[in-house]
């Protein structure tokens, strides 16, 4: 698989072409980006079978492509790549989803004046994401990491005419930046301990026991901070719901399926490092668990369809994190890939609704879409069932794998929370479905909705297919081939699924669906009654746990206060005293000294004589 480097490079080429010539291409040059990513997908699939045949374990197999990128002294950064089951899985998922979602975008974004820019940035994002996935070098990984963040920023703010989009883009960028700083420091801590940025070399030193335990924990926790920012983990999740201001395909591709999973991927990629530190694993487990339940609870009261999906994404990312924290890369990766399919499906479905209703996403204003857009409705239901972990669908297998990981590891609190989250997930997803697709239309837009066009519908169907079948790769019924692949040769981390876990999680999912049906379809009890009973709790949740308010207070008082102090310090001390002071001192001393430059010959001669006399006196005193 020595041509893996071609996969991101194709998208880079597409980006360059689109950024400079996209305006002149028909349809914004979407075809360029599509062809590039389709070719990338082809290569990735080829690589997948290649690798399967080679039977290479995770984090083994040399980078096929290592070029000197930066050389300075003893340090050299290589553009090295790692092709293992982990990265090839991501490669296939990312290229496939990127292709499907770009296909969908051709219909969804049609007529947008800046469409070429949309496809250019999506191509750049794809390239950066692939670079991140393939990187065997932490510097390359970090560069790609920042690049996907940049693309995310550009795409959230794609409709920058809207103030909300601008604010959301800034919020996303700044919030993830907090985590990114942690990641960078973590990388540097690792570098200081090992002298290398190459992941495989770091692992070699790790297994050799060359890295002190404290350093491992520090580096792992710092890197996890980066993962928290990117993957929207509590408390850095606040940017993800706002990021829904971007075009829906962007939400599907970047903020559901790929970029936000970069954090999970990072932890999976660096798993040996995390596994070497119990404290770091506990942090991952705890943060993941908190995120899973907290986001699920917030999703209960959200009425914006896309934001519900955003919270659901956060919650599911928390699921993946706690799978990692409980020690199973296989479960996390299976859930990651499966989630990518059904969450992309859900977002694209939401996008189709938005498209059909000209921008209405508030579920209070929708309703009754089932009759007008059947394809969208039923694919959405499939996605929701899969997400909820309904038996035999994709999400069911991965969720069970995660829950069994928790139960096998003895993490009972996490297990219980995971089950509750699963029930909540089913509940809020079917709340959306019953409110938006069933019942009676509650607005003119919802009544006059038009059917999704084929280019929008086809991706939905394709994704629905995968939302049903993908999880079977992890199904013990057919021997869990996914676990074999991701841990080829390392069967230690595999978990058998006990039947009672299956029963409990299926029961939770069905219970959630039934509860949603009872409240939102049958009206027993009515939603308003529950809201009234909940009282302050509902307000608390509707205000998103006051976290935005808290952060705003933090920024206003702490951040800006500090900034004000720095500004004053800079203006008074650095500028006035430091910069101007230096200039002033030079000017004044020059002003004084130039009085000595009289241009009068005898002044100079007199000074010379004075000097000679002083020297003579010194010589006399010295000899005396």
């Amino acid at each position: 698989m020595s041509i893996a480097w071609l996969v991101p490079l194709l998208s880079v080429a597409a980006f360059v072409l689109l950024a400079f010539a996209g305006r002149r291409l028909p349809g914004g040059g979407a075809i360029v980006s599509l062809v590039a990513v389709a070719a990338g997908f082809g290569l990735a699939v080829y690589g997948f079978f290649d690798l399967r045949a080679a039977d290479v374990a995770v984090n083994e197999g040399p980078g096929p492509f290592a070029v000197d990128f930066v050389s300075a002294g003893d340090l050299s950064v290589h553009l090295s790549m790692v092709i293992d089951s982990l990265s090839i899985t991501m490669l296939v998922v990312v290229t496939f989803l990127s292709f499907i979602i770009q296909l969908y975008s051709v219909g969804y974004m049609r007529g947008d004046p800046r469409i070429h820019w949309f496809f250019a940035v999506v191509a750049l994002f794809t390239a950066a994401m692939l670079g991140l996935v393939l990187a065997n070098n932490l510097i390359i990984l970090y560069v790609s990491w920042e690049l996907v963040g940049l693309c995310s920023y550009l795409l959230i703010g794609y409709w920058w005419e809207r103030p909300l989009a601008r604010e959301a883009a800034k919020k996303a960028f700044v919030t993830t930046r907090i985590g990114d700083v942690g990641l960078l420091i973590g990388i540097l801590v690792l570098f200081k301990a090992t002298g290398s940025f190459e992941i495989d070399q770091i692992f070699e030193l790790l297994t050799a026991g060359e890295i002190p335990a404290g350093t491992i924990t520090l580096a792992a926790v710092l890197m996890f901070l980066g993962a928290m920012g990117k993957s929207g983990q509590f408390p850095l999740h606040v940017w993800l719901p706002d990021a829904m201001e971007g075009p829906t395909p962007v939400s599907a591709l970047i903020h559901a399926a790929t970029m936000v999973t970069a954090g999970v991927y990072l932890v999976a990629r660096m798993f040996p490092l995390f596994a070497a530190s119990e404290a770091a694993m506990l942090v991952v487990l705890t943060i993941g668990t908190i995120t899973a339940i907290f986001a699920a609870v917030l999703a209960l009261v959200e009425t914006d369809m896309k934001r519900v999906l955003a919270y659901s994404t956060i919650s599911q990312l928390g699921y993946m994190m706690f799978a990692l924290g409980a020690g199973s890369v296989t479960a996390a990766m299976l859930h990651l890939a499966g989630h990518a399919f059904f969450k992309a499906l859900l977002f694209l479905g939401a996008g189709a609704v938005m498209h059909g209703t000209h921008g209405i996403v508030d579920i209070d204003k929708l309703g009754g879409l089932r009759n007008k857009m059947p394809v969208t409705t039923w694919t959405f239901v499939i996605g929701a069932l899969s997400l909820a972990g309904f038996p035999l669908l994709s999400g069911f297998w991965s969720k069970d794998m995660i829950l069994s990981t928790a139960s096998d590891g003895g993490h009972w609190v996490t297990f219980v929370i995971g089950v509750v989250t699963a029930a909540l997930t089913a509940f809020y997803m079917f709340r959306v479905i019953f409110r938006a697709f069933f019942g009676k239309a509650r607005s003119d837009e919802a009544r006059n909705v038009h059917r999704a066009e084929p280019i929008v519908a086809i991706p939905l169907v394709v994704l629905a297919f995968f939302a049903i079948v993908f999880g079977w790769l992890g199904s013990p019924l057919i021997g869990a081939p996914f676990g074999d692949f991701v841990f080829a040769g390392h069967h230690a981390a595999e978990h058998g699924e006990s039947i009672w876990v299956v029963v409990i999680s299926s029961a939770a999912a069905i219970l959630g669906i039934l509860a949603a049906y009872s409240v939102y379809q049958a009206g027993k009890p009515r939603a308003a009654a529950i809201r009234a009973a909940a009282g302050g709790l509902h307000t608390f949740l509707a205000r998103r746990g006051y976290m935005d308010v808290g952060y705003q207070w933090l920024i206003d008082n702490v951040s800006l206060g500090l900034a004000r102090f720095v500004a004053v310090f800079d203006r008074k001390v650095v500028n006035d005293a430091g910069v101007d002071g230096t200039g002033l001192a030079v000017r004044l001393s020059g002003k004084g000294l130039r009085r000595g430059v009289t241009g009068l010959l005898y002044n100079y001669a007199a000074l010379m004589v004075v000097g000679v006399v002083i020297l003579a006196v010194a010589a006399l005193l010295g000899s005396a």
Partner: protein, 105 residues
């Protein structure tokens, strides 16, 4: 016959003449007057050369020969100095050195 003249006295005379020349160089405005003062200083130095050569040096010719060279250089200096002064005079119609302050601030 000259044993009665101590070396110190000769050196003192030379020092005095040198100091007077120095004062002239420092206080005169006229460029030619400054050149004259410089000649005075050079002559004072010559007195020293000859005196030391006579009294101290094992070879009494050395000081005299050096003095010859000093005179040679002094002659060259006067010739060049006067040429420069002439040129200054042509340009500025006077030869006051304190008018030559183009390099001042």
């Amino acid at each position: 016959m000259i044993e009665a003249i101590p070396l110190d006295h000769v050196v003192l005379v030379a020092t005095t003449l040198f100091g007077i020349g120095l004062y002239g160089v420092l206080s005169r405005r006229n460029a030619v007057a400054i050149l004259m003062a410089i000649e005075l200083m050079l002559n004072a130095v010559n007195i020293n050369f000859i005196a030391f050569s006579m009294y101290v040096s094992p070879d009494p010719t050395v000081g005299q020969i050096i003095a010859v060279f000093v005179i040679t250089v002094a002659a060259a200096e006067v010739a060049l100095g006067l040429a420069i002064v002439l040129q200054i005079f042509r340009n500025k119609s006077n030869i006051n050195v304190d008018d030559l302050d183009l390099l001042r601030w």
